[in-house]
Every structure is written in C-alpha cells, then in structure tokens.
C-alpha cells in the first residue's frame, strides 16, 4: 500500500529538522507519509531584516526591510495572514502571487520573490510566507495628506498618465485591480508610480452571450466604489477601476477623498449629488441591477461634476477628463486608452517629471504612518485646502513626524 508504511512501535522524539506543524499532526503520524526534506526553492525570510511596519494590506501587514547581503537593498515585505485555516493557503494570497507573477510593468509594483520563515518548534513548524516587493518610498494618500507636498499641474498630469498606463496594462492582461485608492498607488522617490495591493484583484473574461459573470460586488474601498457595484452588479469589468481612477484624479486637487460615505446607501447618495441621479435615461439598463429598487436613489439630481470640481481643478481639460471618468454608466466611462488620449495629457503644461519635486522631501510618506485625514473638504469647497496652505494651519504645516527613518 502506498499509504500505510509502517506501524510505529516505540514512542519517538520529534525530529525538529523536519518542518511540520505539531499542532496539526504529531510526528509519528506524519512519518507515515512524509519524508524529511529540505526546501530548495523559497528563500528564507531571514535574508531580510525588518526595519519598520509601513502598512496593512488586504491580507496582511507590510514591513519595510533591508537585504542582509551586500546590496543592502530596501524591500517591502507583505506577510500572508493565515486566518482561515479551513481554506488552506488563502485564495487572496494565491491570486496576488499568480497575478503579480504575470504582470511585469514599470507602473505595476514588482514582486521580487516569495520568502518563508524557517519552520521551527517556535512557530509550531509552520512557515510564514512573505511576498517581497521593490521598496517604494511613498504612497499617494501619504503624499496628499502632507500639505508640504505640492503638485504642479504638469506633475499631476504625470501621476495620472502613469496611473492610466498601469491600468491600461493590467486591463489588457485581463486583470481587474478592484481596490483602486490613493493608498494603493505607490510612488518611488524618482517619481515612478506603481499600482500596488493586488489582494482583491482577479482575472476577468468578457461575458459570453447569455452567460453573465458572477463576480462578488463586495470589493473596492467604499469611497472609491463605483455606482454599479453599489447597485449590486456582478457582471462588471474594467470600468470599476476607471471610476477609482477618477476619484483619485480629483483627489490630486482636493487632497482628500471626494466622496466619503459612511454606508453604501450614503455613498450612493453622495454619488448622485455629484454625478446626477441614476436613471435609465443617463444609464440604460441600470433599472435591471439587483439593488436598483432596494436602495434609496435620489431623484431629480443634476450632474454637477464640472461645476463642483472646477474651484479646485481650474484646468478645463482636467475637469473634462474627470467628467468622463466619473460617468455613472460604466459603458460610457472612459477606458484607460481613451483617457490617455485625452487633451489633458497633450496640452501645455505637458506632463512633467516628479523627481525634482520629490527630492525636496527626504522622508517616506505612507498613509499608514500619516495622522488621520480630516474628512469632508469638498463640502466646504469655498476655501481651497491643501493646495495653498495658509499659515493659520500650523498643525498641518508641520507635516507629520518621521517614523520610518
């Protein structure tokens, strides 16, 4: 028999070299089917030295770490949380690994390798897995929350151009990000933007006729969630990420998320107040979405995207592109390619490099390390926060304390 090998007569001491989980199996049980062997592939995580915790991802903590070898290179290490023992290795982690192994692009975060801790008695012979990434100095939410960081129009264009380039690439590879938000947009000190956190990402296919996709609609951080998801759509696609791109673009000027609903219902109301009522007139087919009759949808709201964002954005091309990204009807929303061809990117001032602006800031800026942002800037949009900080805001002017270096 392949399975029953030998009966164990005498009690044995567990051999600690064998990496195993003593909580799940005792050694004797295990000897029946597993032989002691070394793992030649995944490197040990001890080749890196943790420096600081810099964030909390969808499926685990993120650390800044430094390679112990001669390169002394900085990396970001994302710990794989093993919450749900029943599911085995978490499917979210499997997705992130396989998707990041597939995606290699200047504007997508680079996965260097997967590491694991050595299995010892101390961790009950169960390794912890880490995803190891190239280190990026900042995230966009962290940069935007620091009033000392000022983006010129050309720099904003460069940020958005890179973000859309990244989205164009992942969408061409049939991947949805599904968690677009400023905190998931990383920026290196050289000004290169990287889309990060693919913990909610998944591959998509174009629905075949008569056979709609059934993806979960419980994705995307609420403030960046598009109306079709809030209305229960399960057959969605790349436009869900484009809505997030629109929210992030507006945030480049408003400096805080433009619609901060506390509940899904409230978020829908905020969207209607900005983008107009969700009606079959502007959005054919909206009436057949699952929650169309279950959610309260404000009627008779006029679309005020340009009107309300103009005080911040000023640039008419910018306002127009925002209008095209924040379309209620996903079919009318610009895709990444069309957005990249918008005049916004091809008129003066042209997109310009971020490196020199970022060079003035020598500390890392991550949302995780920043003080809580003050909500609701958009509601009083008569004074312009952030863009031109007034001396009367000393608490904000000081930025925030350095916890990384």
């Amino acid at each position: 028999m392949a399975s029953k090998i030998q009966s164990v007569s005498a009690p044995r001491e567990p051999a600690p070299v064998m990496s195993t989980s003593s909580t799940i199996l005792n050694m004797r049980e295990k000897e029946k089917y597993i032989e002691d062997f070394e793992f030649p592939f995944c490197d040990e995580s001890s080749k890196y030295e943790k420096v600081a915790k810099i964030g909390q991802g969808t499926f685990g903590e993120v650390f800044k770490a430094r390679a112990r070898n001669s390169s002394k290179k900085f990396v970001a290490m994302k710990k794989v949380l093993m919450d749900n023992e029943k599911e085995g290795f978490p499917i979210t982690a499997l997705r992130e690994i396989k998707i990041l192994q597939l995606l290699k692009h200047e504007n997508v975060v680079n996965l260097i390798e997967i590491c694991r801790t050595k299995a010892t008695l101390h961790n009950k012979y169960r390794s912890t897995f880490y995803l190891v990434f190239d280190f990026c100095e900042h995230d966009l939410a962290g940069l935007l929350s620091n009033v000392n960081v000022k983006f010129s129009l050309g720099e904003i264009k460069r940020v958005m151009q890179q973000l859309l380039n990244g989205l164009y690439y992942i969408h061409s590879n049939k991947i949805l990000h599904r968690d677009m938000k400023a905190a998931n947009v990383l920026i290196t000190k050289n000004g290169v933007l990287k889309l990060a956190d693919f913990g909610l990402a998944r591959a998509f296919s174009v629905a075949k006729s008569g056979q709609a996709n059934k993806y979960t609609n419980r994705v995307v951080t609420l403030w960046y969630r598009p109306p079709e998801l809030l209305l229960g759509d399960r057959n969605y696609g790349p436009p869900v990420d484009m809505w997030g791109a629109g929210c992030i673009m507006a945030e480049m000027w408003t400096r805080s998320p433009i619609m901060q609903g506390p509940t899904e219902q409230q978020q829908l109301i905020l969207i209607s107040q900005l983008c107009g009522s969700c009606t079959p007139d502007v959005w054919p087919g909206v009436e057949s979405l699952d929650l169309y009759n279950k959610m309260e949808l404000p009627k008779g709201q006029k679309r005020k995207v340009k009107e309300r964002l103009k005080p911040y954005v000023k640039d008419p091309y910018g306002c127009d592109l925002l209008d095209k990204l924040l379309q209620l009807d996903p079919a009318k929303r610009y895709d990444a390619d069309t957005a990249l061809n918008h005049d916004f990117f091809w008129t003066d001032p042209m997109p310009c490099d971020l490196a020199s602006m970022l060079a003035q800031h020598t500390q890392s800026m991550f949302e995780y390390l920043a003080p809580p942002r003050r909500p609701g800037h958009l509601r009083h949009h008569h004074h312009v926060p952030g863009v031109q900080p007034k001396p009367a805001q000393p608490t904000q002017d000081s930025g925030y304390q350095d916890r990384v270096f």
């Binding site: 028999m1 392949a2 029946k32 597993i34 793992f39 592939f41 499997l94 597939l102 169960r126």
Partner: protein
Amino acid sequence: MAGNFWQSSHHQQWILDKQDLFRDRQHDLAKLTEEEYQKVFNFFASIIQVLGEQLKLRQQVIATATVYFKRFYARNSLKCIDPLLLAPTCVFLASKVEEFGVISNSRLITTCQTVIKNKFSYAYGQQEFPYRTNHILECEFYLLENLDCCLIVYQPYRPLLLFVQDIHTQIQDDQILTYAWRIVNDSLRTDVSLLYPPYQIAISALHIACVMLGKENLKPWFAELNVDMDKIQEIVRTIINLYEMWKSYDEKKEIQGLLGKIPKPSPAPQR
C-alpha cells in the same frame, strides 16, 4: 487572464531538460524501472482525473493539478510525500488557482474516500483513504514551496482551439478537435508537460489526430507552421509510446505490485 507564456515562470523555470529530469529521478529509478515509474504516474494521473470529474471540475483545473503533481516529483523522490496524499492536494490547490472556487474540505475528503473505494479498489483493496483535511492543508504548504509558488500553468487546450480555428478556414471537420483534445488529455500521462511548451504539445496532438483520421490534405497546413518539427516528432513519439504501452498493460493486475515497490519514507531513527 491572458499573460505572456514566454515571460512566464512556466517557460522560464518549468520547461525542464530531459537529462536533468532523468538524473533527478535516479533515486526512484533505483527501485522502479522507467516503465514502472511511468505506470505509477499513469495511475496517479487517473486518480486526479477521476477526483476532478467527481468534483465536477473543468478539464483545465484537472490538467493543472496533474502538472503540479508531476512538477513536485520532478524534483523530489516519491518517498518525500505519499502520492496518494499529494494527488488530492494538487486538486485542492489547482481549483483555487484556476478560480474554480474553494472545494469544501469535507467534500474533498468524502470524494477521495468514495473514489478510492469504488474506482480504485483494485489498487487499494479494502484499504480506506487514510488522510484527513489537516493532512491536505499541511501538504499544500510543501507543494507551494516546492513549486516555488509558480502557480500559473499554461495548458495546450487554448492553443489547440486556436489552431483548430485556423484549420477550419481550410477544412470543416469537428472530429479533429475531439480527437486532438483527447490526445492532449492523454499527454498528461507522459512527461511532455514538463519538457515542452504547450503550443508544441497542441500541434503534436493535432498531428496524431490527423494521422488517425487519415487527413492527408492537412499536410500543407503543417508544412507552413513555423515550428521545430523535431520537437513535434519527439512529443508524438512519446505519446505513441504511451499508447503502445497501454496495449499490453493491465493496470488492474499490476498496480498493487508497483505501489508496493515505490520508495517510501524511512522510519525516523530511534533515539
């Protein structure tokens, strides 16, 4: 998910060299002849196939599970993990990776028990499936580490469909696809998925199908392909050898003996 095969871990890390593969198997080949070794893998490919069918998985998931299984033993001896445990673990992991959804633990174990009892009693006799969920979850870790977390496996099915589409512009024949598809399934019983890129396996399956069906008129189509025909011939020969082996092989009679011969974990030293 499309992706680019040429940049994938499948192409860069997991198209193995025949000599290397043979060398890494030396430990097992000390106990089994090459043919016996192949018969053992043929058997476990059947277990994975039947498990997958019982769990109503798509063939793509089954194929990925089979390749995981082969990749693990390409670099490890059969004694490292009991193949009867690794087989369902591969099915479990593949169904997650291929977005089939997570198979519930109890369903997986129950299916293993029924399948071993009802379909493979000729190999295991009255022996019940000895593993539980905790064994599979544990084994998943070993599997992931040994795959070096290379999860995406490109299968010959998609290129096959593309080639058949192209052929259809010249000849309308549904039989070719049916035959070639089955030959691709059969190819999982050989080492070709470890040695050749999937598009070459697809072309080879088409080639065999055309010979079986006597489709002489497709010769120009093959001639126009810009592909290394030596490789195609190697794959064809490997698959034909499998069919030759099947002719004279009665698994029901031989497999118990073979399973008895495979290397097993040695008991830990007494202290």
